[in-house]
């Protein structure tokens, strides 16, 4: 009796597991069998029987038909697979919701844009063949390319463009903040003409369209679920979690979270295809950079991403079959100084820090990049080439410290960086040793991302110095100036300088509202020396974009923008 209890239990457990396995297997086989049986309906069986009775040799006919089909079939394109891994996976592949790099890499390949950045960052025709801006700067009219098809075969028309913008500003997620304060409505003029009506003139408007990935209205409306948007339901948000509604060079085949996304060539893509271009794009997520390095070295990946450490690129470049691609990007490194907290609220303290920093060592040794020229990256439209730059000058630094009223040894500041980012730590240590020479103590504060974001959300908690690598959401000076140095952007981590200069605010608002492009650029340029004078940040370096490619990968080039360089239609494989 005492042995029966556990024997009974083990027997039950064994029976249950066998039952699960057997029933699962049976279900599977039954479903495949019924699939096959369903192929021949009653009517079809009748016809087959009648033909057989007449003496028709069905088998021979089928064989002949098969042979004819083979003969007229076009020669299949050889498969060209391209494997690329990013260090993070997408949050959302829905273009109205995603904002991270991983999201954008999916969007730029699955979807298409009205305009696309050129090597200078200026807009070039894509889905729009031409456009006009009205005299008052309030109406942008685009003429769409005809004959463009979405992945499901339907044509891309003005309706789809209107739907895309309406959808983005209704859902209010993603990059909708670029358009919500600015766009009044979108008007369909005719099948291939669409007008954007703005509430007020907005100089960088065309540049913000680099984030407006056009979606397939009909496909989404066929797949809406109940939601808060009236006749539009949930606007297809659930559908776009796992599907694509795009017209881009690739279409979504598989999305396995935490693993990979597989895309296949959209054969009908309006730009056409030539030999060697990609037919199958495997987009993996590999978190650990050591693993990414191994996978590139062994050839499992054809191309690296751009977020490895400098040393990693140098190591990989040692292999003769690997090529290091470098270009100056539109991203920039800043050490933001909190201008609302003591002692960095004192302009002379900020200037002392700005003069004490060893820009040369940082640029040449730590980063191997070019020193930044002011608050706007050199490749951005609207950069002021004659903006004054700080260089290390300990005399001037000490002089400013004197003017500030603080004595050497009196000040202690915190330097915040993301824990684990070695390059940020190195720059922090450099700053620490520089400021020691003028009598300012620096405490390094490494924190994980959640804490980092929390600290930078309020002026009282934001440390005195915060290092950020800022990736502009659109390649225009406005993104840097308005995005970092205007009170409207407070709360985001790259506004951790809490800067507020009424003159700068006024000029920025004027520059944004200026209809004449030349005058607008001039205003943006005039703002930059004022900011440099106020020293709300140390402008460290312009970030260098680095990628490792296998030597058979051709056609890749950097494009100013936000991951627009990952548009892989341009890639050809020459093996």
């Amino acid at each position: 009796m005492s042995r029966e209890g556990p024997r009974f239990v083990t027997a039950i457990l064994a029976l249950v597991s066998i039952a699960i396995i057997v029933s699962a297997g049976t279900l599977y086989f039954v479903s495949t069998m019924t699939g096959q049986l369903a192929e021949l309906t009653a009517a079809e069986r009748e016809v087959a029987k009648a033909l057989a009775d007449l003496g028709v040799d069905i088998a021979a006919i089928e064989e002949r038909l098969g042979a004819v089909e083979e003969a007229i079939k076009p020669t299949p394109t050889p498969e060209v697979t391209f494997t690329f891994a990013y260090y993070a996976e997408p949050i959302s592949i829905d273009p109205a919701i995603g904002t991270t790099g991983a999201d954008m890499i999916s969007c730029v390949n699955l979807y298409d844009l009205l305009v696309f950045p050129s090597t200078t960052g200026a807009p070039t025709p894509r889905l729009a063949t031409s456009w006009e801006v009205s005299e008052d700067g309030l109406t942008y009219t685009f003429h769409l390319r005809e004959g463009v098809n979405f992945h499901d075969g339907s044509g891309l028309e003005a309706e789809d463009v209107k739907f895309t913008m309406d959808r983005a500003v209704s859902i209010k997620k993603g990059f909708s903040w670029l358009w919500l304060p600015v766009v009044e409505n979108v008007e369909v003029i005719d099948t291939y003409t669409v007008s954007f009506h703005l509430k007020k003139p907005f100089a960088p408007f065309l540049y913000t369209l680099y984030q407006l990935y056009i979606v397939n209205k009909d496909l989404i409306m066929e797949n809406i679920k109940p939601g808060e948007f009236g006749e539009f339901g949930d606007y297809g948000q659930e559908f776009l979690l796992d599907n694509d509604a795009g017209s881009g060079p690739f279409k979504l085949v598989e999305y396995k979270r935490l693993a990979q996304i597989v895309m296949e060539r959209h054969n009908d893509y309006w730009r056409g295809w030539k030999e060697g271009q990609i037919t199958r794009f495997i987009y993996k997520f590999v978190r650990e950079s050591a693993v990414e390095k191994m996978m590139i070295w062994s050839g499992e990946l054809d191309m690296s991403h751009d977020m490895l450490a400098l040393e990693d690129y140098k190591d990989l470049a040692k292999k003769p079959e690997l090529v290091l691609y470098e270009a100056d990007s539109v991203y920039q490194i800043y050490i933001l100084l909190n201008s609302q907290r003591e002692p960095t609220n004192n302009i002379h303290v900020r200037k002392a820090i700005s003069y004490a920093f060893d820009y040369k060592t940082c640029a040449e040794t730590i980063r191997e990049e070019t020193q930044a020229h002011g608050p706007v990256n050199m490749r951005l439209v609207g950069w002021n080439e004659s903006v004054p730059i700080y260089h290390q000058d300990l005399e001037k630094a000490r002089h400013h410290l004197e003017l500030s009223g603080y004595a050497p040894g009196e000040i202690k500041i915190e330097f915040l960086y993301i824990a684990g980012f070695l390059w940020e730590e190195k720059i922090g240590l450099l700053l620490k040793s520089n400021l020691e020479e003028i009598g300012i103590e620096v405490e390094l504060l490494p924190e994980p991302v959640p804490v980092f974001l929390d600290l930078c959300s309020k002026p009282e908690t934001t440390p005195h110095a915060t290092i950020v690598g800022y990736g502009v959401p659109y390649p225009h000076a406005d993104a840097a100036l308005y995005g970092m140095f205007h009170p409207d952007s407070w709360g985001r981590w790259y506004s951790a300088s809490w800067y507020n200069n009424t003159e700068v605010n006024r000029l920025l608002e004027m520059a944004r509202a200026e209809v004449d492009e030349v005058k607008s650029i001039k205003l943006y340029k005039n703002i930059q020396p004022i900011i440099v004078e106020d020293a709300p940040a140390i402008f460290v370096t312009g970030m260098r974009h680095r990628i490792i490619l296998w030597n058979y990968v051709k056609g890749y080039s950097y494009v100013p923008g936000y991951h627009h360089d990952k548009y892989f239609w341009t890639i050809t494989i020459e093996k």
């Binding site: 699960i20 396995i21 070295w297």
Partner: protein
């Protein structure tokens, strides 16, 4: 029938424990650093978007109301949606749990297969085998999984030495995935008769299993060794030897059964622990499992996902310990009798 009462009591207790876990994790997850809105929406989010997010997810409601919504949801089996994947947490768990379960189970089976003979050998044949197992134990426990994983990848996948195994992932290289019946690739491919898929799944399992099993093998070997040695010194063993029973029968039938209780404890604990502790292995091998999903959830303060993962691990842990307790009774009838009283 008193034993049946014992089982019923244990099950009820398990439910109570899970209830307690749900309460604790609700409170704990809200003390984690970070703002879920900011972490979910990314660095470009505006204040309006953050407010909208908080409203959408009920994060602006007072804590007791949030707790009520949370508990009633769990009782219905609805963990809500993940802030990050925008899908139901239950959907995410169904997708990711089998991957971790498969990895951890295969690891445990592999650990037992290696450590039982190793432990027995080092207990019976002293000398160099004993030293070897001691060294192995030390190394196995000391090496961080992160490093051993990377080393294995380096030498066996990257072509620096050999390139015979896949570097990352659970599946790949052009073979079709078997349908999601149990979610375990090995079982599903066997059920559907897809042998290439089975082999592919095993190939991807090899390195993560070795990495994850180093520490369990080390611990189990040492425990088995000391328990076996203790048993061998007992009188009934001398009596059995005197009666002429063969050595292997003595050890593998009688000694092991009596010595296995302490090993069973370790096994149970490691099994439950590995479900969450598989994170580093899942990270290095990009294994799409629940441990990785859980840590990501914690880093993004994805409250619903954190609750879901914790409850699944809690349930699993409880079930494993329950089975271990039952097995104790099977191994030692004295315990069984005590319980039935």
């Amino acid at each position: 029938m008193k034993y049946r009462d014992y089982i019923i009591r244990r099950v009820l207790f398990m439910i109570l424990v899970l209830f307690g876990i749900a309460i604790v994790i609700f409170l704990l997850s809200r003390t984690l650093p970070g703002d879920p809105a900011r972490l979910a929406l990314g660095e470009y989010a505006t204040e309006e978007q953050l407010q909208q997010f908080r409203k959408e997810w009920g994060l602006d409601k007072p804590l007791p109301i949030q707790f009520f919504i949370y508990m009633t949801g769990i009782l219905r089996g609805d963990f809500g949606k993940s802030f990050k994947t925008y899908r139901y947490v239950l959907t995410d768990l169904i997708e990711f749990f089998p991957a971790t379960f498969e990895l951890v189970t295969v690891t445990m089976i592999f650990s037992i297969i290696i450590s039982v003979p190793l432990g027995v050998i080092s207990a019976t044949k002293k000398g160099k085998w004993d030293h070897l197992s001691r060294l192995l134990a030390l190394v196995g426990v000391a090496i961080p999984k992160y490093w051993s994983g990377l080393l294995l990848q380096f030498f066996l996948t990257a072509g620096i030495l050999l390139a015979i195994l896949p570097t990352t992932g659970r599946f790949g290289g052009g073979v079709t995935l078997p349908p999601h019946l149990t979610g375990l690739i090995t079982i599903d491919s066997l059920i559907t008769g897809n042998i290439p898929a089975f082999i592919n799944g095993i190939k991807h399992l090899i390195l993560p299993t070795i990495t994850l099993s180093l520490a369990p093998i080390a611990q189990l070997t040492r425990i088995i060794r000391s328990s076996v040695m203790e048993e061998l010194g007992k009188d009934y063993i001398i009596a059995a030897k005197a009666r002429g029973l063969p050595e292997s029968l003595i050890i593998y039938k009688y000694v092991l059964k009596n010595a296995f209780s302490s090993a069973l404890t370790i096994l149970g604990l490691t099994y439950g622990y590995a479900l969450g502790g598989a994170f580093l292995v899942e990270y290095v091998f990009m294994w799409p499992g629940m441990a990785f999903y859980g840590v990501e959830a914690m880093l993004s303060k994805d409250l619903n996902a954190i609750a879901g993962v914790t409850l699944v691990i809690g349930l699993f842990f409880s079930i494993v310990n329950f089975i271990v307790d039952l097995l104790y009774g099977y191994l030692d009838p004295r315990i069984m009798r005590a319980r039935a009283q």
